[in-house]
């Protein structure tokens, strides 16, 4: 049975492309939803997907091959050299909460717009002209 390390070194290119590719793919899908969808809720979901892609990218760049979680649990104190980078994880924690807050405000605006204009189609809510 191959360990993850062995698989990783053998197929490094594929793993790299897979990880980064899926994160970037999420960003692209989210961007597609924000730019091309008409329904307000779908636009907000697209924003959320973009956020998810960015957070995934952030965590991915912190990975060190063969590394383990940066926690000094009893019995594992000596593994200090093999711990993954803890800083991106801390930053992503903050970024996730901020993304949640923005999504909450966006959804409340969608509710307000729906009540006011009686539609959730963004093309019909264009009363602010140039």
């Amino acid at each position: 049975m191959h360990s993850f390390d062995q698989v990783f070194t053998q197929y490094q290119d594929i793993v790299t492309t897979g990880v980064y590719g899926s994160a970037i793919g999420l960003i692209i899908i989210g961007l597609y939803a924000v730019l091309l969808k008409k329904n307000l809720t779908k636009i907000v979901i697209g924003l959320s997907i973009i956020d998810a892609g960015i957070h995934l990218l952030f965590v991915a760049i912190g990975y060190i091959q063969g590394g383990t979680a940066p926690i000094f649990s009893p019995g594992h104190e000596g593994e200090i050299q093999k711990m993954v980078d803890p800083v991106p994880q801390a930053l992503v924690l903050t970024a996730i909460v901020i993304g949640f807050a923005v999504t909450a405000v966006a959804l409340s605006l969608v509710i307000r717009l729906y009540k006011h204009h009686n539609t959730s189609n963004i093309d019909q809510i264009k009363s602010l002209k140039w």
């Binding site: 091959q65 000094f72 903050t94």
Partner: protein, 240 residues
């Protein structure tokens, strides 16, 4: 026409991002030397945390202590989201009567299951944020788990009420305690949010000084705020 234009733009953006990120090899050791001389910030954190701060979970130490100011900002962002939500949606007292959250009652499987699971979920959440400095987890994670428990109850029962005044008190107290701990550090050691009581050894529940206290306050605050947000969003009277 617009669709074609946007698709081309997306392809360009995707290619550009992939090219840029392919320059950053995945899994490279960017932390550098840790045991001897540290060159990067992460190396310093990994080296100094078990000795100087007596905290086992390095991510917790970063979030609460080294970059505690960011956490303060994040807690503020949550507070502002709740306030902003309240101001945008403008709930009046009259709207509360006759508000129907569910059109159909949930099935008995869901309602019984929720009632059994709810205390267990809250217990798990409390465990996660109390042990934030020892195991993976912490205030934000624990608070989110507790809020999920409340969500379960909110969507299973039509008349489950969450008292907004209680939530308000918990939120304010938790926020005030966080800032006051910071001021305590400022008064006693001339540095805001400095970690003062150096008690305990590594891996015991009472360790890390003021870090677990802050995280517990954060846990309560996040749970209260997330529940408040969910409750406001679920209680909107649909337009007839």
């Amino acid at each position: 026409m617009k669709k074609v234009f946007v698709l081309i733009l997306l392809a360009v953006v995707g290619l550009y991002l992939s090219n840029t990120f392919n320059l950053i090899s995945f899994g490279d050791n960017r932390v550098g030397e840790v045991v001897e001389e540290t060159t990067t910030v992460s190396g310093y954190y990994l080296k100094e945390t078990p000795t100087k701060s007596e905290v086992a979970n390095v991510v917790t130490a970063i979030v609460v202590n080294y970059r505690g100011f960011d956490t303060l900002g994040e807690v503020t962002v949550l507070f502002l989201a709740t306030t902003g939500l309240g101001s945008i949606l403008f709930r009046r007292k009259e709207e509360e009567e006759g508000v129907e959250r569910l059109s159909k009652p949930a099935s008995s499987l869901v309602s019984t299951g929720s009632r059994i699971l709810f205390p267990l979920v809250v217990l798990l959440g409390v465990y996660v944020f109390i042990h934030g400095h020892l195991t993976p987890g912490g205030g934000f994670q624990g608070g989110a788990i507790i809020a999920t428990g409340f969500l379960l109850m909110l969507i299973s029962y039509k008349n489950y009420k969450v008292s907004h005044s209680t939530l308000g008190w918990v939120e304010s107290f938790a926020g005030i305690s966080f800032v006051l701990i910071g001021f305590w550090g400022l008064i006693s050691s001339h540095s805001f949010l400095q970690n003062i009581p150096q008690v305990g050894e590594l891996n015991s529940l009472i360790s890390g000084g003021v870090i677990p206290i802050i995280y517990i306050a954060v846990g309560f605050k996040v749970a209260a705020e997330l529940t408040g947000v969910l409750d406001i969003l679920l209680n909107i009277k649909p337009k007839k």
